[in-house]
Symmetry: C2
Subunit: 168 residues, 2 copies
DNA sequence: TTAAACTTTCAGAAAATTTTGAAAGTTTAA
DNA sequence: TTAAACTTTCAAAATTTTCTGAAAGTTTAA
């Protein structure tokens, strides 16, 4: 396989997977492109390589920055901003966990805490409370687990946690 | 808070979260409704409670069945099919992990295995191969980890794994 | 059989999301 | 200053996803 062909395959596939993972195609493609680009790229270069508009690049790069998996790079003597993806895949994974925890898990826990205040009126509300409290306690455990993972040193994944999980 | 109000809040919220989790609103709402319904519900009842069409119910219930987190229930002496959600939230979580592993992780690993076959032509392809192999090895580790989780007894989450993750 | 009860399908409509590109805004060099 | 280089915004257009509901298909009881 040629390098160019392989790169194109990777970008296309990462984009398609992205939509399954709940992020949009272009955002995933930009991420893929930056991952395989050794040097940081400018908006212009991203536009050209992926054949997308300036606005689209701007919007999705900002989103990737907000996820903390793409960084802004300033080159000496250049006006333009350049962008590069975090190349350490473990750091990237941790960063994504962190963000998803914040954006998705925490709001669910807040909701469940609220809903547990429902009055027990009859058997039906007994069932409801039980479901809420099961989900809540599961969510709290997951939350704690993610917290440990995120706070652990950056090589937790290859360290004792990974050994515990994989080797036993 | 009234039970009815709390139920509506839960269904609405679960639906909204669902879209963030990468599944569609209605599918998540049906799941929420079935979770808090003590008795299995028919398509008719789901239609009425969520104000959605017959086709929509059929499609999304089938999807939930294919995820293995909703089950078909036949009542003696009834023609209709009824549906109920898996109430054990740990089982549900494991089932979702299993499916996501199959649908999302395995295809990525297959792709990466392919792409690692790219020829080393120059420094640029060296970088590409390195990124591919890092992602591949991360994916394999994740895969093994999920495999252990899925194969562990159904209370892994509250058992030694959870203790290891949370208590240390 | 047959017809009522129920489930599935799917083309078109509706809704939601994503993308474009031109205009407005900002920064910097001279 | 100012004007070129660059970034951001956002309304409208394009695309994708989801939903509807009527028609077709299937199952069951009698």
């Amino acid at each position: 396989m040629e390098l160019k062909e392989a790169k194109e395959k990777f970008i296309a596939a990462w984009g398609a997977f992205g939509t399954q993972w709940g992020i949009n195609r272009t955002m995933a493609q930009i991420h893929a492109l930056l991952l395989i680009s050794e040097e940081p790229l400018s908006s212009e270069e991203i536009m050209n390589q992926l054949n997308i508009s300036r606005g689209n690049v701007n919007m999705n790069v900002r989103e990737l920055l907000s996820w903390g998996i793409v960084h802004k790079v300033l080159k000496l003597g250049e006006r333009k901003e350049f962008f590069t993806a975090e190349k350490d895949i473990y750091k990237t994974a941790i960063q994504i966990m962190k963000e998803r925890r914040k954006r998705e898990l925490v709001p669910v826990l807040d909701l469940l805490a609220d809903l547990e205040e429902v009055q027990i009126e009859n058997d039906a509300s007994g069932h409801f409370k039980m479901v809420m409290s099961e989900i809540y306690s599961f969510g709290q455990n997951t939350n704690k687990m993610l917290d440990k993972m995120v706070k652990a040193d950056e090589h937790w994944f290859t360290g004792s946690l990974m050994k515990f999980l994989v080797k036993r």
